[in-house]
Symmetry: C2
Subunit: 231 residues, 2 copies
């Protein structure tokens, strides 16, 4: 871990399927999770459900997003794209310097009434790059977890999917890759710079289209790389 990064992970917008799925897998792996939500009570309810699903000793609590932010410096953003910018503006004062913000946002066209198998163009290139423009100075943005099926995360079986991690800060990217590998079945791949997340985000739309067409829970494996690439 980098200095200043605590071991509790705040999942902002963590009451949705992606957030609760990640939380479940991470508490099972022994991580301390804070579920963040607009509504503290809702966050606590979801935390209780996760605890029940995981185990009695699971370390998971629920807080309002701002409080969750203040209580951790490893933040995972799992809101729909339409909520990303507004939430980041609101949380900016609560995000402390040296924090890592993990962005899992995908700019699906569904957020403006279009299809979930199509994406919107984001001026900065990707949702993660938009996030990077909005966080306070000294905060590292890492793009990851876009391609994981929320339904598979909420289950018990290993997840047959790789997580491509993109960031301009290699140390933060490594912390997030370690976090990805705590999900059984998942391999983490160093995807290079944050700008590459625009492709990883798009892939989610393709996978959603495949799910609709074939009634599955599609994921992706990156083949053909030396074993070091998955570390």
């Amino acid at each position: 871990m980098s200095p200043g990064v605590t071991r509790s992970i705040a999942i902002l917008g963590g009451t949705g399927p992606a957030g609760t799925g990640l939380a479940l897998r991470w508490v099972r792996a022994g991580e301390s999770i804070i579920i963040g939500s607009r509504d503290a009570q809702r966050a606590q309810q979801v935390a209780a459900t996760i605890k029940q699903k995981a185990h009695a000793q699971a370390s998971v609590s629920g807080m309002e997003n701002g409080a969750a932010c203040a209580a951790s410096n490893l933040l995972v953003l799992t809101v729909p794209f339409e909520g990303q910018a507004t939430l980041l503006k609101q949380l900016k004062p609560a995000i402390s310097e040296g924090s890592i913000l993990v962005d899992a946002t995908v700019p699906l066209a569904a957020c403006v009434g279009g299809r979930a198998s199509r994406t919107l163009g984001v001026w900065q290139g990707s949702a993660a790059q938009q996030a990077a423009e909005m966080v306070p100075k000294g905060v590292s943005v890492v793009a990851a977890f876009h391609n994981l099926s929320a339904e598979l995360l909420s289950g018990d079986a290993p997840v047959d999917c790789d997580v491509v991690v993109c960031s301009d800060d290699p140390a933060s990217a490594q912390i997030v890759r370690e976090l990805a590998r705590k999900i059984p079945g998942v391999r983490a791949v160093d995807g290079g710079k944050l700008e590459n997340s625009r492709i990883v985000e798009q892939m989610t739309a393709l996978l959603i289209g495949l799910n609709i067409r074939h009634k599955g829970h599609a994921g992706v494996r990156i083949t053909g790389l030396p074993s070091e690439a998955y570390r």
Copy 2:
């Protein structure tokens, strides 16, 4: 096969690494291949090399692109993006109605002096959609084979990669999926409409970036779909 589609496959711009790799795998699977090139002599040389690498009975010949086009109605386009539109304009009179044009083009930024790990925006949405706008009426465009490593295709081992096939013509897409499955190791996935190829094309840039970073021959597997999705 659709009525009127012969079993010989013309690979246009087929003297490059992707074209020769596909040709090698398909002649080994018993297909008749015509290598197309601007230069008929060069095409014949490459055809001879492929024959030598495959087996003495391999059915592979070389022709100028226009002649190759006229001799087949299953056309595979494996030119760099900067050559795609010009070649299609030139070949238009030679492409017969009812043909299938398989587009494997990726709009890499490298074609304007940029990086091969980045892409250009294509007005129509993707290289394949640009092709669809340029072919004569009654010609089906199918996008496929973007993510296969040319180096792995040129070898002997099974290729650890899926081929996502996108087209607005389901019958043509099925023919191309059958063709994909003739490459040992490859599974073909029905990727839906041609417009989805914009994501599949982008994925090539991500894989190239991974290859540069990790010194590999990256490919992609789509997981989590029922077995019918790979047929």
